[in-house]
C-alpha cells in the first residue's frame, strides 16, 4: 500500500506539494516512484523558469521508462533540488523528504488548496484499481 502523508496535497498526475506560505515544494508520490521503478535520471528546469498549471516542467526516468512531471500550480521556480542529479535514487528511497524536485512561488496562492487531500488521493488511487 502506498504511503500518503496527511500534511501534503496531491495531483491526479501523482505529484505532491508541500505548502509553505506562497511557496510550494513539488515531488512525486510513493505510488509514482513505485510504478516507475529504479529512478536513474531527472531533468529539472532552471530557477526563474515560469510554468502554468499542469505544464510539464521536467522528466523522471527509470531504467525502463520516462515520465513527464507536471506543475500542479502556476508560478515561478525559486529553487531546484540539484542534489537529485547525483542521487536520483532518493526519489525511490524517500519520495516525500529529500526528493522534492523544485520549489515554486505560486501566482495564485490559493491554488494548492484546490488539490486533493491525502484521503481524496487515496480514494483516487483505489478508484484507478
Amino acid at each position: 500500500m502506498a504511503n500518503i502523508p496527511e500534511n501534503l496535497r496531491y495531483s491526479k498526475d501523482h505529484e505532491w506539494v508541500s505548502v509553505n506560505g506562497d511557496v510550494v515544494s513539488i515531488g512525486i508520490t510513493d505510488y509514482a516512484q513505485s510504478s516507475l521503478g529504479d529512478v536513474v535520471y531527472i531533468d529539472l528546469p532552471r530557477v526563474g523558469d515560469r510554468f502554468g498549471t499542469h505544464e510539464a516542467f521536467g522528466s523522471v526516468e527509470s531504467v525502463k521508462a520516462v515520465s513527464e512531471i507536471f506543475t500542479p500550480v502556476a508560478g515561478e521556480v525559486v529553487e531546484v533540488n540539484d542534489g537529485l542529479n547525483d542521487a536520483p535514487e532518493k526519489v525511490n528511497n524517500d519520495p516525500y523528504g529529500d526528493a522534492w524536485f523544485i520549489k515554486v512561488k505560486m501566482e495564485n496562492p490559493g491554488e494548492a488548496d484546490a488539490m486533493l487531500s491525502a484521503v481524496e488521493y487515496e480514494e483516487y488511487l483505489s478508484s484507478q484499481g
Binding site: G37, D38, V40, Y41, D43, S59, E61, S62, V63, K64, V66, N92
Partner: protein, 371 residues
C-alpha cells in the same frame, strides 16, 4: 474490447509470492521485476547470481534421418559442425535474407535436434518451419508446453548448481549441454544464457518447475546480502544489452539481415544452400548499407528504443535498444546507422524528446566478464 487471456508459466504463482510486478510480455504474464528492483537484480547477477524464469521460450524437436539437413536448410549457422551435446546460436531467415527469429540449436544426436526459439515468435516459427518440411524425413514436435526453463546466471552459478546434481558441471563447456538429474529431476543442463555471465539454463518437465526454482533460491542463499536474486524481464534486458546481445523485434526482424545486425559470425553461406542464402550472399558482396553499432551517451540523457539518430543535422538511423547500463553506470544503446558512420569514435546525435544529444559509437560488447 477483447479480453486477452495471458499465458502463464508454471512459476506464475511463485513470481507473485516473491513480489513480482507482472506485465503482459508478448501475451505472457511475466515478472518485469521483483521487490529488489531492476538495478539490484542486474548487479547481483553480475556479482553473485540471478534466477530467471524463461519457461515462456519455445521448444521444437526435429527428429529423423534428415534432421540436420532440414535445420541446415532453414538456418544461417552450419549445423553439420555441431557435435552431440553441443549447441549454437543461429538465425532462421526468410527468402529476402531477413530474420524470422534467432534461436539456439541443440544437437542431441545425428537424428535429433532441439530448437529453442523466442516466446513471442514461437507460433510464427512453428508455422514457418512446418511449412518447409515437405517430403523430408523429419518429425516436428512443438514441445513448448512440455518444458519449464530456468536460468541460473552469474559467477556463483556453478557453486549453486553443482551440489544439486551428479553431473560434473566443470565438464560442460560454454555452449555445450548434457542431460542428467538436478535435485532428482530429469533435466537438460545447458551452459548458455542471455546475461553475459557464466551460467546454466535448466530444462525440465513443468510440474517440477516450482521444486527446482525453490531449490535454486535456497542453494543460492536468497535473502542473504550476497545471495541469489530472482530477476525479471527488465534486468534480463539490461543484462543482455550491456553484453551486446540482440533482442528479436529490436535488433533483429523480418526486414533486417543478420549481416546488418552484426551476426556475420553465425552466417555461413559457404556451408551450402539455405533459405535467404542468395540475398545474404549478394549483400555480403555489396556490403550492407547500414550496420548496427553500440553507442554511449556523452551528453546527460537516456536514448530509448526508436529514437532517431542524426549525423550532420541529417536523420540517418534509429535506436534499436537504449537504456541505462546499471553495471557500467552509463547510458548506452544499439542503433542502425549508415555503414559510413559505423566507426568507433564516430559522433552521433540522438533526438531525445526534441533535444539533439551527443553520443559516440563505441565497441561492443559494452561489458565483457572477466574469465
Amino acid at each position: 474490447m477483447t479480453e486477452t487471456v495471458l499465458k502463464k508459466t508454471p512459476l506464475n504463482r511463485l513470481h507473485r509470492e516473491l513480489g513480482g510486478k507482472m506485465v503482459d510480455f508478448g501475451g505472457w504474464d511475466m515478472p518485469v521485476q521483483y521487490t529488489a528492483g531492476v538495478i539490484e537484480e542486474h548487479m547481483r547477477t553480475r556479482t553473485a547470481a540471478g534466477l530467471f524464469d524463461v519457461s515462456h521460450m519455445g521448444e521444437i524437436w526435429v527428429e529423423g534421418n534428415d534432421a540436420i539437413r532440414f535445420v541446415n536448410s532453414l538456418t544461417t549457422n552450419d549445423v553439420t559442425k555441431l557435435s552431440d551435446r553441443q549447441a549454437h546460436y543461429s538465425a532462421l531467415t526468410n527468402d529476402n535474407g531477413g530474420v524470422v527469429d534467432d534461436l539456439l540449436v541443440y544437437r542431441f544426436g545425428p537424428e535429433k535436434l532441439l530448437l529453442v526459439v523466442n516466446a513471442g515468435t514461437t507460433d510464427k516459427d512453428w508455422e514457418w518451419i512446418a511449412s518447409h518440411k515437405e517430403d523430408q524425413d523429419v518429425v516436428l514436435t512443438n514441445a513448448s508446453a512440455d518444458y519449464c526453463q530456468i536460468a541460473v546466471q552469474g559467477p556463483n552459478a556453478v557453486a549453486i548448481l553443482q551440489p544439486l546434481t551428479d553431473v560434473n558441471l566443470d565438464e560442460i563447456k560454454y555452449y555445450w549441454f548434457t542431460t542428467g538429474r538436478v535435485d532428482g529431476v530429469e533435466s537438460i543442463i545447458s551452459r548458455t544464457g542471455y546475461t553475459g555471465e557464466d551460467g546454466f539454463e535448466v530444462y525440465a518437465a513443468p510440474e517440477f518447475a516450482e521444486q527446482l526454482w525453490n531449490k535454486f533460491l535456497d542453494a543460492g542463499k536468497y535473502g542473504g546480502e550476497h545471495g541469489i536474486l530472482p530477476a525479471g524481464l527488465a534486468a534480463r534486458n539490461t543484462l543482455r544489452l550491456e553484453s551486446g546481445m540482440s533482442l528479436y523485434g529490436h535488433e533483429l526482424a523480418d526486414d533486417i539481415s543478420p549481416l546488418e545486425a552484426g551476426l556475420g559470425w553465425i552466417t555461413k553461406p559457404q556451408k551450402g544452400d539455405f533459405i535467404g542464402r542468395d540475398a545474404i550472399t549478394e549483400l555480403k558482396e555489396k556490403g550492407p548499407k547500414r550496420k548496427l553499432v553500440g553507442f554511449e551517451m556523452i551528453d546527460r540523457g537516456i536514448a530509448r528504443d526508436g529514437f532517431d539518430v542524426y549525423v550532420n543535422d541529417k536523420k540517418v538511423g534509429y535506436v534499436t535498444s537504449g537504456s541505462p547500463a546499471p553495471f557500467l553506470k552509463k547510458n548506452i544503446g544499439l542503433a542502425f546507422v549508415p555503414t559510413e558512420f559505423a566507426n568507433i569514435g564516430q559522433e552521433i546525435k540522438i533526438d531525445v524528446r526534441g533535444k539533439l544529444l551527443t553520443a559516440a559509437v563505441i565497441e561492443t560488447p559494452f561489458y565483457r566478464r572477466k574469465k
